[in-house]
Amino acid sequence: MNKKEPIVAFWMIFPAIFVISVIAFFPLFKTFYDSFFDFGLNPMFKREFVGFGNYIKLFNDSRFWAAFKTTIIFTVVSVLLETVLGLLIALVVHQNFKFRGLVRAAMLIPWAIPTAISSQMWRWMFNDQFGIISKLYEALGIIKPGTPILGRPGLALWAIIQVDVWKTTPFMALLILAGLQLIPEQLYEAAKIDGANMVQRFFKITLPQIMQTIGIALIFRTLDALRVFDVVYVMTRGSVGTETLSVYNRSLLMDRAFTGRWFGYGSSLSVVIFLLISIFAIIYIKSLKLQID
C-alpha cells in the first residue's frame, strides 16, 4: 500500500471533520461547559463557576420534573399511536389499487405543512367559540359545549398529542412503506404454498422483515418527540400542564437571557435533554440490534 494514501485520505475528509466540529461539536461542548457556570448574557453579570450546582438545582426544580413527565407522556403516547397507525396505513397503501399514487401523495400533506402553521390552524379549530373540532366533539358528546380544549388541564395535552399524531403518522407510514417494498415476493409465495394464512404471513414474514425499518423510524420519531417544541409553543405556550422540556428551556434561554442569571441553568437543561435522547437512542439500538454502519 502506498504510504501516502492515508495522508491524502486525511486531507480529503478534513474539510468535513472541520465543518462538523464547528457546527456540531463546538456548540455541544460549549453548552456542556456553560452548564457549569452561573451567568446571564447581560454584560453586568459576572461568570461564576458552580460545578454541578446547576444540575443539583435542576433536579430540585418541580417545574423541571413536571416538564419531564409531560415530555415522557407525550413521547410514549404519540410515538406509539404514530407507529401503529403508520403501520396500518403503510399496509393499506402497499396494496395495489386504483389511484394508489394519488393516495400516497395526498397522505403526506399533513407532514409537508410547516408545524408552526398547522399548529396555528389547529389552535383555531380547537377554539371554544368557532372551532370546527370543538363543534364536532360537542355534537358527538365527547365534550360539553363551551369547553376550551386548549385551556383544560389534561385535555390540552391530548389535543396536542392528537395534532402531533395527525402530523407525523404520514412520516411513519412512508418509512414503513419503504421497508415493505424491500420484502421479496417469493417469501410470501413460498409461505402460501406451505399453507400459511394471512395473520401467520404477517407475523412470520412481514413483521420480522420490517423490524429494522420500524426501529429506525422509532428512533427518528422518539428523538423528535423528546425535544418537541413548536406544536406545544404555538398551541398553548406550555400552559395547563403541557410544558415540555424544550418549551421550559426556551423560557430559560430566551426570555430570561438578559434579565437573570439563568443561562448556565438553561444550558444544564439542554444537556439533560441531550442525555435523555442519547439514552433512548442507545436502548433502541441495543434492543433492536440495529446495524448503524
Binding site: 448574557l41 447581560n42 454584560p43 453586568m44 377554539n127 371554544d128 367559540q129 363551551g146 369547553t147 376550551p148 386548549l150 385551556g151 383544560r152 388541564p153 398553548t236 405556550r237 406550555g238 400552559s239 395547563v240 400542564g241 423560557s251 430566551m254 426570555d255 430570561r256 437571557a257 438578559f258 434579565t259 437573570g260
Partner: protein
C-alpha cells in the same frame, strides 16, 4: 421613494458640508404608524438641515423587537441611535440607555402624563421620553344596555356582573370577554383587578406584598367570572386581545376589556356593531377605584452613540414628542398622546372622542411591576394566575406560590 429621498438627501448633504449628523431610529409599522412617521421626519429634516434621519422598521411582534434590541445593545453597537421602547423595557435596558435626567426641562416632562414619566424613570434616572400611551378600557354594547334599561355603563365590578348576567342570558351571548391566556396580556388584566381591589404585587420600594387577602379576593373574583357567575366563557383562559375582539365585534359579547386600538376596528364600516359601542373606564372594585394598566411606547437614546449623534437624537425626540406632532400622530395613526395639553385640542376630540372623554383613565393608568428582571416576574405572574384560572390550584394557593417564586427571583 422614501428611501430614494433619504439617500438623495444624504448625497446632497455630503457634497456641501461635513457638519451633517446622520442618525438612525427604530419604528414599528402597525397600521399607518410608519407612514405618519415618514411625514413627520420629512418635516423635521426640513427644519434641521444639518440632521439626516434614517428609519429601521421593526417587526410587529414586541417579543421579536425585544430580541433584536438585545442583540444590538449587548454587542455594543452605536446604531440605532434612537430606540422605540415598550413601556415595560426601560428597567431592563437602562444600562444601555443615555441618562436624560438633566434634560427633564428640555423635554418638558412636567407636561406629560405622570404615569408615562414614571414608566421611563429607573431608580431616579430618566432613560427615555414617552411617545404615545395606552391603557386598559371597558368596551360595552350601548344598544343592549339601553334595551335592558341601563342608562350608564357599570360603575363597579358587581354592577358589571349583574348587567352581564341579565343581558347575556336574555340575548344568548357571552357576558364579558377579556385576556386570560398565559401570556403578557394576562399580567395586564390581573394587575387591573389587583389595583381596583386596592392592592399590588410590589410596593413603592419593591417589596413583595402580593400575599394578602385583597389579592386573593381579586383573583377569586376573576375565577368566579368564569365558573360561578358564568359571564365569561371558560375559553377566556385561551384568549388574547384579538380572540376577545373577534367575539365582541361579531356581536357575541356584552362587555370586553381591551386597549384603545379596538375602537376604530369595532366602528369600521364592515363591523356588525358599528355605532353600537361605548367605552368606559374599567369598573371599580371593593378598593374603591378605577384602575387601568399602562401600555405604550417610549423613545430612548443608545448610550453608545457619539456625543454629536446624541445631540441630534435629543432634537429629534423633542420634535416627535412636541404637542403639534403628538396631535398629528393621534389624529392620523390613532395613538394616544402623552402630553396633557394635547387632550384639550378640539381636533383630537373630533377624530377620537374617547381619548378626550376618558382622559382620566390615561392620566391614572398604572405601570406593571418595575424591576430589572421584569420578564421573569411577568412569567411567574402568568403561570400562577393562569393555574388558578384553570382551577389547577385555588386562588389562595396560587398567590402563595407566586409570592414564593417572586421571593426567589428578587432575592428577598
Amino acid at each position: 421613494m422614501k428611501k430614494l429621498f433619504v439617500l438623495s438627501m444624504l448625497v446632497f448633504v455630503f457634497a456641501f458640508s461635513f457638519a451633517i449628523t446622520t442618525i438612525t431610529m427604530t419604528s414599528g409599522g402597525v397600521g399607518k404608524e410608519l407612514e405618519v412617521l415618514y411625514a413627520q421626519l420629512k418635516e423635521f429634516m426640513k427644519q434641521n438641515p444639518d440632521i439626516v434621519v434614517t428609519v429601521i422598521p421593526m417587526p410587529d411582534s414586541s417579543t421579536e423587537r425585544h430580541d433584536l434590541y438585545v442583540t444590538y445593545l449587548a454587542a455594543g453597537e452605536s446604531d440605532p441611535d434612537v430606540l422605540m421602547l415598550d413601556v415595560i423595557w426601560p428597567p431592563e435596558f437602562a444600562p444601555f440607555l443615555e441618562d436624560l435626567t438633566a434634560d427633564y426641562d428640555y423635554f418638558e416632562l412636567n407636561k406629560f402624563l405622570p404615569g408615562t414619566v414614571k414608566s421611563v424613570t429607573v431608580m431616579g434616572r430618566i432613560v427615555a421620553v414617552p411617545w404615545f400611551t395606552d391603557a386598559g378600557l371597558l368596551y360595552y354594547r350601548k344598544d343592549l344596555l339601553e334595551k335592558y334599561g341601563y342608562k350608564k355603563p357599570p360603575e363597579t365590578w358587581d354592577e358589571l356582573v349583574e348587567m352581564a348576567k341579565k343581558i347575556s342570558k336574555a340575548e344568548g351571548i357571552e357576558g364579558f370577554v377579556w385576556q386570560g391566556a398565559r401570556y403578557e396580556g394576562l399580567v395586564c388584566d390581573f394587575m387591573e383587578y389587583l389595583w381596583s381591589f386596592g392592592t399590588d404585587v410590589l410596593d413603592e420600594n419593591g417589596n413583595i406584598i402580593v400575599n394578602n387577602p385583597k389579592a386573593i379576593e381579586a383573583l377569586q373574583f376573576m375565577v368566579d367570572l368564569i365558573y360561578k357567575d358564568g359571564i365569561s366563557p371558560e375559553g377566556v383562559t385561551t384568549y388574547m386581545e384579538e380572540d376577545a375582539r373577534r367575539i365582541f365585534q361579531s356581536g357575541n359579547a356584552v362587555f370586553m376589556r381591551n386597549w384603545p386600538y379596538a375602537w376604530s376596528l369595532a366602528n369600521s364600516d364592515d363591523s356588525p356593531i358599528n355605532g353600537k359601542v361605548g367605552i368606559a373606564p374599567l369598573p371599580k372594585g371593593p378598593g374603591g377605584k378605577h384602575a387601568a394598566t399602562l401600555g405604550g411606547w417610549n423613545l430612548g437614546i443608545n448610550a453608545n452613540s457619539s456625543p454629536k449623534e446624541k445631540e441630534a437624537a435629543k432634537k429629534l425626540i423633542k420634535f416627535l414628542t412636541s404637542s403639534k406632532e403628538q396631535l398629528y400622530k393621534a389624529v392620523n395613526a390613532g395613538q394616544n398622546p402623552t402630553r396633557m395639553e394635547v387632550y384639550e385640542v378640539p381636533e383630537l376630540k373630533k377624530a377620537n372622542p374617547f381619548m378626550v372623554e376618558l382622559f382620566d383613565v390615561f392620566i391614572n393608568a398604572l405601570p406593571r411591576p418595575r424591576a430589572v428582571n421584569y420578564a421573569e416576574i411577568s412569567d411567574a405572574i402568568q403561570r400562577h394566575v393562569h393555574a388558578a384560572l384553570t382551577r389547577q390550584v385555588t386562588p389562595e394557593q396560587a398567590i402563595k406560590d407566586l409570592e414564593k417564586e417572586l421571593k426567589m427571583l428578587l432575592n428577598k
